[in-house]
């Protein structure tokens, strides 16, 4: 008889609650066809809160379950919290009057929830199968979500592009995983370390293919080509979710892999550093010519993914907390930026043209001020979270040998280019309005809540970064 692994339900509770919420949303939608979508989204937000509450007893602990396949530690706890926050904010942005949900709020909400479940599985996955499972759950739901703005042709195009290229990447990921299994004789990340130390060709090939799959999900250049189109075509709220949640979940996988498998062995990681350098350049230079705000933020996310890789260089105890700090900062500033865009158009796609923001400061000074702060944070201007994040990244990279220094120098160059990119938007808002002034009418409370969340995070982490360090005992592990 097969021995079933012991299951620690307390460890899985946050996941179980979230899955239950997803099912409940579907059920409510099925039973009452009339259920207002805000009820469904409200259920979703409640599910986030319940799931977070269930994860509180786990904070600061390190436990594994399912025979070591799934870990709950300080590392995954920080990512889970970020993912749940992102999901809650996405629900807020989805509740706006003109937000697109494909005409079916129930399945839209459930898909968002299952996406997040996938992300949380990724954050805790300690073996290759768990990782693949999480990635697929996240991706499959997201392929559909990208198309929920389907009356727009761009949304259909986004969904198709995403599913075609995404499946290809999944193929790389699973093929790479198979080779890694072949090389190590085990799917557990901890066991891969031995194979990594031997440098067997099978392992190198497997890691290479696996990395391609991950780089695609992270939108690291040169595997980024889908990003601008998918970001542009997807509904605004989904784009915000994609920019933050997918990036955070996938980085948790990459970080756990690198920290577990490679013992300060930087030679095998050179391809990762090269991807980071290329991403910082392609992302920032690519954003220069964008006139569409969603495409601009897509290129920005490529560049920011490149920055975050710096946290993994010079493998040391601080790297993980640096990465988590930057991802949290990145989450706040992106959610804030998307919230301001959605505020003006009531969740619709009206204000994605940068030229359209001309004179915003004189029409809606507060919206423009917050938008300025979010974009300044993306550019890494001091007194915002983005600055402290970049400071920590640079500090980490400078300890990482020649590749670390090269990445630090690229980050500086990329940031300089990004000054032009982000200030281009700020610049438009400060120009005096001309001709037919846009309405900028939207003023939904849900957007303001989302902006407040982003603003609080950006200012708090920027001015009192101590707040993050006080939370450190509960966040990313300082040791392996």
């Amino acid at each position: 008889m097969m021995q079933l692994p012991a299951i620690d339900y307390a460890v899985l509770a946050p996941l179980i609650i979230l899955v239950a919420t997803g099912l409940l949303v579907l059920l409510v939608d099925l039973v009452s066809r009339q259920a207002a979508r805000n009820v469904l989204y409200g259920l979703g937000v409640a599910g986030c809160a319940a799931s977070f509450a269930a994860s509180l007893p786990l904070s600061g602990r390190t436990v594994t379950t399912l025979s070591g396949a799934f870990a709950a530690d300080r590392f995954s706890w920080g990512f889970d919290a970020l993912l749940l926050l992102t999901l809650a904010v996405t629900f807020l942005l989805s509740s706006l009057k003109r937000a697109e949900d494909g005409g079916s709020p129930g399945s839209y909400a459930a898909l968002l929830i299952f996406c997040t479940v996938g992300g949380m599985i990724m954050a805790g996955a300690a073996n290759l199968i768990g990782i693949f499972l999480g990635v697929e759950l996240l991706s499959l739901a997201l392929y559909i979500l990208a198309g929920t703005g389907y009356p727009r042709q761009a949304s259909q195009e986004a969904a198709l592009k995403y599913v075609l290229l995404g499946s290809l990447a999944s193929g790389f990921l699973i093929f790479g995983s198979a080779l890694l299994y072949g090389a190590a004789g085990s799917i557990a990340l901890a066991d891969l370390a031995t194979a990594a130390a031997s440098g067997a060709p099978l392992f190198v090939a497997g890691f290479g293919l696996w990395l391609v799959g991950i780089a695609f999900k992270l939108a690291l250049s040169p595997f980024h080509t889908w990003t601008p189109d998918v970001y542009e075509g997807s509904p605004l709220a989904v784009t915000a979710f994609m920019a933050v949640a997918v990036k955070a979940a996938t980085f948790s996988v990459l970080a756990r892999f690198i920290y577990t498998v490679f013992q300060h062995d930087s030679a095998a990681l050179i391809p990762v550093w090269a991807l980071a350098i290329l991403s910082m350049l392609v992302g920032n230079f690519g954003a220069v010519r964008q006139g569409n705000l969603k495409r601009l933020l897509a290129f920005s996310s490529i560049a920011q993914a490149g920055y975050i890789v710096l946290a993994l260089s010079g493998v040391g105890s601080k790297g993980l907390s640096t990465m988590l700090f930057y991802l949290i900062a990145y989450g706040f500033m992106n959610l804030g930026a998307f919230a301001t865009i959605s505020l003006l158009g009531d969740g619709g796609e009206e204000y994605v043209d940068i030229e359209g923001y001309r004179g915003l400061f004189f029409r809606r000074p507060w919206v423009a001020t917050w938008m300025t702060i979010f974009f300044a944070s993306l550019a890494g201007i001091p007194a915002t979270a983005g600055f402290i994040g970049k400071l920590l990244l640079l500090e980490q990279a400078l300890g990482g040998g020649p590749w670390g220094i090269a990445m630090a120098a690229t980050l500086i160059l990329g940031t300089l280019v990004s000054f032009y990119v982000y200030f281009k938007v700020i610049y438009q808002m400060f120009l005096p309005a001309q001709g037919q002034a846009p309405q900028f009418a939207g003023n939904a409370a849900a957007s303001w809540v989302a902006i407040a969340v982003g603003a609080t995070g950006v200012m708090l982490l920027g001015i009192v970064p101590q707040a993050f360090y006080l939370a450190q005992p509960y966040l990313a592990a300082a040791s392996r």
Partner: protein, 506 residues
């Protein structure tokens, strides 16, 4: 507490004036001017401290592996930079009242006041990370003022030039700071000395120096300067040219030289050369300008090149004189740009060949312009002379060739300054058709007057400033520090150390 009040009073005034209802600009004007004047009055209290005493405020900011503190202080060096900031801000903000679109004036005043706070932050920060925070934040108000409160395409290009040049300098400085922290493990570097490896120190110094040279600016890093000084509204230029550009020299004096004395000595030759090139390049280029603001911009390059020469001559006279010179230049540049702004409002052009003889209609304008112009060309009795004279005397001791070449600038300055003054003020009146040449209004006269008075003050009594600046900058703090090596103690007595080294070299 006084420190925090002085720094944040302008910002507080800025926020309050936003609360005033739109429409009537008068309350906003009153609040802005009151804020600036009160800040200046409060900042005078720092004068009460002796030459080496310093006002301090320090609380921990970030603890952990890389500690940083919210540390403010005013000592013998920063005192005069703070006073320059608070003094120049008053006329700049007052002059901004005449901005054409009164409905948008609130934003203009807000940005000027916010800019003053960031400048004061730079000059009082005692922690390198805090210094950098303000250093980078300075960019934003200036960029927005250039982008939003000018109306030509050239001005908007200038905004981008300003942002990218100064942003590049800031980012290189950030890289240098992070590299430095890898050794020091703290951002609280003031008054401490650290042993950097011989391989790292030149790179770190170069990173700091590049940022400071761009801000000053010095040839060949002045690319942003002519367009910014020419295109920005005159109150903005008064603050950028009069105060912000001084942050470069300040950074050298307070951070780069004390931290990296060996590298500073090694790079002294090239830096002196850049200074001399700036002196000559600026002066010769100024000679050929038709746009009066561009002309003064290049004269600025010339004068600040002299300051770099004085600093890297490492002479006991020239180094303190460089402080006198930047303060004096700040007053002169601010006054000149404000007066040129008044002229431009009347003539509707900056082209020197398009108008002349304004003195016939505006004798008071002529008198004030004369004083500022004479100060700029170094007439004894005004502040420009004292600074230049001491610089030449001091630099001659260690850098005779460079000093001799730079002396040429005195003649060139006379030529271009008189060209502006005589062309614009003397002779028969001529002006474009749409010009409305009127006498200086009382407001305009009064707002420039404090700057001119300060020029006289420093001109007849330069010792007032010199006695307050410590000749051994930074040493009093270094002595209380815990140095790494005995060697480092000698070097940490910053200027005295540097000067001592140059004495023995002689």
């Amino acid at each position: 507490m006084l420190l925090n009040t002085v720094i944040f009073l302008p910002l507080a005034a800025a926020v309050i004036l936003l609360l005033v209802p739109k429409g009537d600009a008068r309350p906003a004007k009153a609040i802005a001017l009151a804020g600036a004047v009160a800040t200046f009055a409060l900042s005078l209290a720092f004068l009460g401290a002796g030459p080496n005493a310093s006002a301090q405020f320090s609380i921990p900011w970030i603890t952990g592996a890389l500690p940083a503190s919210y540390h403010l202080r005013v000592d013998g060096i920063s005192l005069f930079f703070v006073l320059l900031t608070t003094l120049v801000s008053v006329p700049a903000i007052w002059a901004a009242f005449s901005y054409a679109d009164q409905r948008r004036l609130r934003g203009y005043l807000f940005l000027l006041l916010a800019f003053e706070t960031t400048l004061l932050g730079v000059f009082t920060a005692g922690d390198l990370l805090l210094f950098y925070v303000y250093w980078d934040l300075m960019l934003i108000p200036v960029f927005l003022l250039l982008a939003g409160y000018t109306d030509s395409a050239a001005a908007r290009r200038a905004a981008w030039g300003y942002l990218i040049y100064n942003g590049a300098g800031g980012l290189v400085l950030l890289l240098g700071i992070v590299g430095m922290v890898a050794v020091t493990r703290t951002f609280e570097v003031l008054g401490h000395s650290f042993a950097f490896s011989a391989a790292a120190e030149p790179w770190l110094f170069a990173a700091f120096a590049l940022a400071f040279l761009i801000k000053t600016p010095v040839f060949p890093f002045h690319g942003w300067m002519p367009a910014t000084y020419t295109q920005a509204p005159s109150p903005v230029v008064a603050m950028v040219a009069g105060v912000q550009s001084k942050a470069g020299l300040y950074g050298f004096l307070v951070f780069a030289l004390p931290l990296f004395p060996n590298a500073a000595h090694r790079f002294a030759g090239p830096l002196v050369a850049l200074g001399v090139i700036s002196v000559l390049y600026g002066a010769f280029t100024a000679l050929g300008q038709r746009d009066m603001k561009t002309l003064v911009a290049f004269s600025s390059l010339s004068h600040l090149g002299l300051v770099i020469l004085a600093l890297f001559a490492f002479d006991i006279t020239s180094v303190p004189a460089s402080i006198l010179m930047v303060v004096s230049h700040g007053l002169i540049a601010a006054a000149l740009f404000l007066l040129l702004g008044f002229i431009e409002e009347r003539t509707r052009t900056r082209d020197l060949s398009a108008f002349g003889g304004l003195g016939a209609r505006a004798p008071r304008l002529q008198v004030l312009m004369l004083i500022a112009a004479m100060a700029a060309l170094g007439l004894p009795g005004l502040s420009g002379f004292a600074g230049e004279f001491l610089i030449f005397i001091g630099s001659w001791q260690t850098q005779p060739v460079a000093t001799a070449i730079s002396l040429l600038s005195v003649i060139l300055a006379t030529v271009y300054v008189l060209r502006v003054f005589q062309g614009a003020m003397n002779g028969p009146l001529s002006a474009p058709a749409d010009a409305r040449i009127t006498e200086l209004r009382p407001r305009e006269g009064w707002l420039v007057a404090p700057l001119l008075a300060a020029m006289f003050w420093l001109g007849v009594w330069p010792a007032w400033l010199n006695d307050r600046t410590p000749t051994t900058v930074g040493s009093h703090e270094a002595q209380t520090a815990v140095p790494h090596k005995a060697q480092a103690i000698a070097e940490s007595k910053v200027l005295s150390g540097l000067l001592g080294a140059s004495e023995t070299a002689r």
